[in-house]
């Protein structure tokens, strides 16, 4: 059995699976980082991912077009994020309550439209999912080629997004504005930045990423929709946001680690080592708690997080 674990095929398989499994987490984490950098905690993430999983799946089921499914997932993510924005940004309700409300609402809605569309068949309907895309030449590199360069197109996009989001946040003027309003919305307002509009835009970008992350699960990772398909990955993304100190690179690293644990767990089971899946699911959270102890000492938590912004309320 040990020999199985250290075989070359086990390891290349593990690396490949790690990259696959981390894709939705990283996408969702990037979305949450953008949102939280602007000062909004979107706890609707889990529900939005599930809804994206359902709408993407159904759109593909109906048209047979996978990319149409992805597009619909992104769009529905944006719509739900706009609802979140209306509640938490425009009305200034508690971000916790609004976010959890969205998660409950979107999960219910996802189940509802799925049932409406397919009824309750004994065998759930399936789509023909994305197949991995081998990059010519690179995928022929012995040993690593197979695991790194034979991935889903969405996985490549995700990896490209990591530096892009970093550049967006730290090198562009929108990034500067987003970071400023996340730290001190009053400061952003007094230099002429429209706080609530920018927050809405950030929520929408995040929502699109959540939706696509969900659809990855039903259109690439699996080929059907199950009610527990997201399985807490939204919450993991929230944890990774904190773990990564609101930094896209670090957050993605956390997502990668989670993907690794997820993949390891599946692989170990396939070679006959049975550990309860929950042990593995627990690890990212433990990691986050440990990281939080460190993070809470450094003042990088966006200071404006959770605070709705309204004028005409300040004393002085």
């Amino acid at each position: 059995m040990m020999a199985d674990i250290f075989s070359a095929s086990f390891i290349t398989g593990l690396i490949g699976a790690t990259l696959r499994m981390s894709t939705p987490i990283i996408l969702a984490t990037l979305g949450e980082i953008i949102t939280e950098r602007a000062g909004v905690l979107n706890l609707g993430i889990e529900g939005i991912m599930l809804f994206g999983a359902a709408s993407g799946f159904l759109a593909t089921l109906a048209t047979g077009n996978l990319w149409f499914g992805i597009l619909m997932a992104a769009l529905s993510g944006v719509l739900l994020a706009l609802l979140m924005s209306f509640l938490a940004v425009n009305l200034g309700l508690s971000q916790h309550v609004a976010g959890l409300g969205i998660t409950i609402f979107a999960s219910g809605l996802a189940m509802f439209i799925y049932r409406k569309a397919v009824g309750s068949p004994v065998v759930p309907p399936t789509v023909h999912p994305f197949s991995p895309l081998a990059i010519p030449f690179l995928s022929d590199i012995p040993f690593i080629g197979e695991s790194f360069f034979k991935q889903y197109f969405l996985t490549y996009i995700t990896w490209a997004l990591i530096p892009l989001v970093s550049i967006f946040l730290f090198r562009t003027r929108f990034g500067l504005r987003i970071r400023t309003m996340g730290q001190n919305p009053f400061a952003a307002d007094t230099v002429g930045v429209n706080v609530n509009r920018t927050r809405t835009i950030c929520l929408a970008i995040g929502g699109a990423l959540f939706g696509v992350a969900g659809a990855f699960l039903t259109l690439a990772h699996q080929n059907m929709f199950l009610i527990d398909v997201v399985g807490g990955r939204g919450w993991i993304a929230i944890a990774m946001t904190i773990f990564g100190n609101w930094n896209p690179l670090m957050g993605s690293l956390g997502g990668l680690m989670f993907g690794f644990l997820d993949a390891l767990q599946l692989r170990l089971q396939s070679v006959g080592i049975h550990l309860p899946i929950h042990v593995f699911l627990m690890i990212p959270y433990l990691m986050t708690i440990v990281a939080l102890v460190g993070v809470s000492r450094k003042a990088t938590v966006p200071a404006g997080l959770l605070k709705p912004y309204r004028r005409e309320e300040k004393g002085g």
Binding site: R171, G175, F186, G316
Partner: protein, 493 residues
């Protein structure tokens, strides 16, 4: 600005106020706490919308719907509480909002910032993080921010309230340069001497209305004070001379480190007796904050002991301090003095809520509390929409009154007052001074920590000067020698 009216739920903050500003001048805006100065300027800055009235800039009627519009018209405002992002650099703080292209061009921005710094004699390292700046430097950064936006009109809301005298002088020099370079400045302050020093024209508001406008050359401090309050102010305080009693607070050989781990107080000893006011004078940042934190029980000494009323108390326990009869007026009223989202009533009862008759068998008696709080609000003339209004709707000065009302209401044995009149108008200041003297007559021992040397000299029986956490010297009120104190404050023995 013509006939500006602004109403908040019940209060009329501005009632047909008119205000004008000319190129190359400093115009001071005076008025009691809650007179509507900040509100008026927030309207000019587009932060609040006025209910009626019009604003003209260079003769043209403009609509200022948001700070963005105001900035586009060359108006910038520096608020009482700075609007900096601590975790970003000076450069990033300056360029936000006017970054230019899609990507941040820091090289170009830095060049521009350095040019402005040179032109106006403001030197700040563009790469320093904002949280490392002193208060004075933060203010420079705010001014730089405004200049970076090509501000023609600069509004400064109580800029000197938090500055040490030297920093104030620097600020005034900067303001002069600005005015000489064709800018105009609106200057809000309660310190009448400063107003007389820096401004060319003075506008006085009272209860949201214009009451007077004076050229500097045509007025005097006394006149301004009475215009503001609507009555004569005579800060000649009467206090029956009574001998100090037993020692109530004894600090022995204290050594304290600040949050950065640097020794902030060293070898600090002090005796405070009943019926005595001891003043701690010094340029801010020389250990005053740490001293007050220590006495409030929120910072532990590394060495030395604190003896309250004959009993040694452990450091780091706020409740032990309260039980020993200490009233505490913190220097940072927003973060340690009040809870901004709670009502005036809740804030007033914070300290006393668990004693009879406000609480019986663990239950709060709302009626008792309400009537007690109403009395305090009346005594201290807190201007508020009612005791249920959240304190964040109060003006800066009224916020301070809430704290004073809470802390001075009981019969404290010891009072630690940090900057008790910062941001208060002359009328309120007189009131606070009298409240402190009344407490002294009643028998309290009072430690007054203040940057305002005039205040210290006016009230105190003894003055202790600190510099870099050490006591430089001590003088009794009958042997006050300003020159000597000044030297001590700058570290010359």
């Amino acid at each position: 600005m013509v006939d500006i009216t602004k109403r908040f739920v019940d209060v009329v903050a501005n009632d047909k106020v008119s205000f004008s500003l000319f190129p190359n001048e400093v115009c001071a805006l005076l008025g009691e706490n809650g007179a509507g100065k900040t509100t008026l300027m927030n309207i000019l800055f587009g932060y609040y919308l006025c209910d009626s009235g019009e604003i003209r800039i260079y003769g043209r009627i403009v609509r200022l719907g948001s700070p963005k519009d105001a900035i586009a018209h060359g108006i910038s405002m520096i608020h009482q509480h700075f609007t900096l992002v601590p975790s970003q650099s000076v450069l990033e703080n300056a360029m936000i909002g006017v970054e230019g292209g899609f990507f941040l061009d820091k090289k170009k921005a830095r060049k521009r910032l350095l040019e402005i710094e040179k032109q106006f004699g403001l030197d700040l390292d563009p790469d320093a993080m904002a949280f490392t700046l002193t208060i004075g430097q933060q203010q420079k950064l705010e001014i730089l921010k405004a200049l970076y936006r090509e501000a023609k009109i600069l509004i400064m809301d109580e800029p000197t309230a938090v500055l040490a005298p030297i920093e104030t002088r620097e600020l005034f020099a900067t303001l002069r340069t600005l005015v000489d370079n064709g800018r105009s400045v609106v200057f809000i302050s309660h310190k009448l001497n400063e107003v007389m020093e820096i401004s060319d024209r003075i506008l006085v508001l009272r209860e949201g209305k214009n009451v007077a406008e004076r050229k500097k050359s045509e007025t005097r401090v006394q006149e301004l004070a009475s215009l503001m309050v609507g009555r004569e102010i005579l800060e000649s305080l009467q206090c029956s001379d009574s001998a100090a009693g037993n020692t109530v607070l004894q600090l022995k050989n204290l050594r304290v480190r600040n949050s950065k781990g640097v020794v902030a107080l060293d070898g600090f000893s002090l005796d405070l007796r009943e019926r005595e006011i001891v003043g701690i004078a010094g340029v801010s940042g020389n250990g005053q904050t740490e001293l007050s934190e220590l006495l409030f029980g929120i910072r532990r000494p590394e060495e030395g002991s604190i003896v309250l009323d004959g009993k040694e108390v452990p450091g780091g326990s706020p409740s032990a301090m309260i039980r020993a009869g200490m009233a505490r007026i913190p220097e940072d009223r927003i973060s340690t003095g009040v809870c901004m989202d709670l009502s005036v009533m809740d804030n007033m009862i914070l300290v006393d809520h668990c004693r009879e008759p406000f609480s019986k068998l663990g239950l709060i008696n709302g009626r008792e509390i309400r009537s007690w709080v109403l009395d305090r609000v009346r005594d201290f003339q807190v201007k508020t929409d009612g005791v249920d209004a959240p304190v964040k709707s109060l003006s800066g000065g009224n916020l301070q009154k809430v704290i004073l009302a809470r802390e001075l209401a009981g019969q404290p044995k010891i009072i630690i007052a940090c900057q008790p009149t910062r941001g208060l108008d002359v009328g309120a200041m007189e009131y606070v001074h009298q409240a402190i003297l009344r407490q002294k007559e009643r028998g309290a021992g009072i430690l007054l920590i203040s940057d305002d040397l005039d205040e210290v000299l006016l009230l105190c029986d003894r003055v202790i000067v600190i510099y870099e956490g050490r006591i430089m010297g001590e003088l009794c009120s009958d042997g006050i020698d300003r020159e000597r104190i000044g030297l001590w404050m700058s570290g010359v023995a």
